[in-house]
């Protein structure tokens, strides 16, 4: 009995450690692919599945491959994306967990995917959605070498992991958005300042007024079909001289 208790405890501890690790990953230097790769590896290490993979929905609303614990799962995930068929696809469409306890009997459901998964050596499969309120951001796919699928307890653990993964994903998307809008402000400020600096440079090089310097700058960028701020930047860093603009 002690042996079983010890095993159970150690598995629980490993699970806790995994969640702590996932939470830590969310703080700094978050990389989506690294994060999901390690998530699939942990699922396998914890014995929740033989192999695991993750698909995420892209900006266009299509599922895309992100990570897998092993190469054969990688190929199976790509196969699902290409053929728009399989447990991940169904899970994504319905927003609910999708499981098949015997893949050899699933050819009706997935005529392309099921035989492919069987020939890769898998006997059962489970997909769990990455959910945010009403939206589904992707799906977490577990592949098993044996028939029977995963039990309810394991499904609950995997769903909890999927929820943590969803938080990580949202945080990353928010960060990306924040970086984008901050970048837009910086670029707009640089643009404005750079044009003024370029006007000063041209006015001194050509001995002309600021207005005339600006006309020169604008005329050149129009003739060359280049953005005004790019031309200004070239002037400021010395790649273009006023003579080049006439």
């Amino acid at each position: 009995m002690t042996g079983i208790a010890a095993t159970a405890l150690s598995r629980e501890q490993r699970l806790v450690a995994t969640f702590v690790e996932l939470a830590d990953t969310l703080v700094e230097d978050f990389d989506v692919v690294d994060f999901f790769s390690s998530l699939t590896e942990r699922v396998v290490e914890l014995g929740l599945a033989s192999e695991a993979g993750i698909l995420l929905v892209d900006e266009a609303g299509d599922l895309q491959y992100v990570a897998a614990s092993h190469e054969r799962t990688h190929l199976l995930e790509l196969f699902q994306v290409q053929n728009e068929e399989g447990p991940c696809q169904d899970c994504f469409t319905t927003g609910t967990p999708v499981g098949v306890a015997d893949l050899e009997a699933a050819s009706d459901r997935w005529p392309l995917f099921a035989p492919r998964a069987v020939s890769a050596g898998f006997r059962s499969v489970q997909a769990v959605p990455l959910r945010l309120r009403g939206d589904v951001l992707g799906a977490f796919n577990l592949f098993l070498n044996d028939p029977g699928g995963i039990d309810r307890e394991t499904e609950a653990v995997v769903q909890a992991m999927a929820d943590v993964a969803t938080i990580g994903l949202l945080q990353q998307r928010e960060l990306d958005r924040a970086h984008t809008v901050e970048g837009q402000l910086q670029q707009a400020l640089h643009t404005r300042i750079g044009i003024e600096q370029a006007k000063g440079i041209i006015s001194e090089q050509m001995r002309i007024e600021m207005d005339a310097a600006f006309e020169l700058l604008r005329g050149y960028s129009r003739n060359r079909n280049r953005k005004l701020h790019n031309v200004a930047q070239d002037v400021v860093r010395g790649a273009l001289a006023a003579d080049d603009l006439t």
């Binding site: 924040a178 400020l189 643009t191 090089q205 005004l228």
Partner: protein, 241 residues
Amino acid sequence: MADMKPGRIMRLAEAFAAQPSGPGPMRLCAATSKLVDAAGVGLSVGTSHGLLDTGLHSVCATDAGQDGEALQFDLGEGPSHTAHQTGWPVQAPDLECDGIWPAFSAAATRVGLRAVFAFPLRSGSTSQGALTLYQHVAGELTSDQYADALIASRFALTLLTERQAGRPPDELDAVFSESLSNSIEVHQASGIVSVQLGIPVADALAVIRAHAFAEACSLAEVAKQVIDRRLKLGPLSDELP
């Protein structure tokens, strides 16, 4: 570390909503001034980027924050610059006893400022600018004031970046183009001096600043003289005693 209790955020939101309508950044300055009981509050954005290192530009400020913001731009130093460069809040509770920004502290006390507290507009490991509190009396911030100012600085970053979000770079939002309009001639003059001395524009700005400081006049005045070709500056080394 300041606590981020929802109550604080609500109080800031209420103070913000109580301000007369107008550009968000200005309302935030006024709301922060009221909330933390600061005489003046200013908001500045940084534009440090390689060759275009032009430091901090004041976006807006309450009346009592104008002098401090202008001085920091003219001198190119001060608590807001340090906060922006280091990414950490900078507290100067008594400018008369300060040795970190000799030029700024002396000039600031002359216009009646005694304490300055600057909070970086931090995003990850980089800073996008600073929210700065100006006081007419010396004294530390209470932890409540500190926490409120910190929350205001986070709010400020979102407010500023959202104004420009989704716009092409050559369509600078009016709030920024108006605030830059005060410094346009300074950047033009930087271009002129960079040609005259054969140095990068960022260095040319430093030369103009040094001259303005030595002559005890504003950056804008020196810039005007340079543009009108009434003043031709020598290299920085000649300016030093």
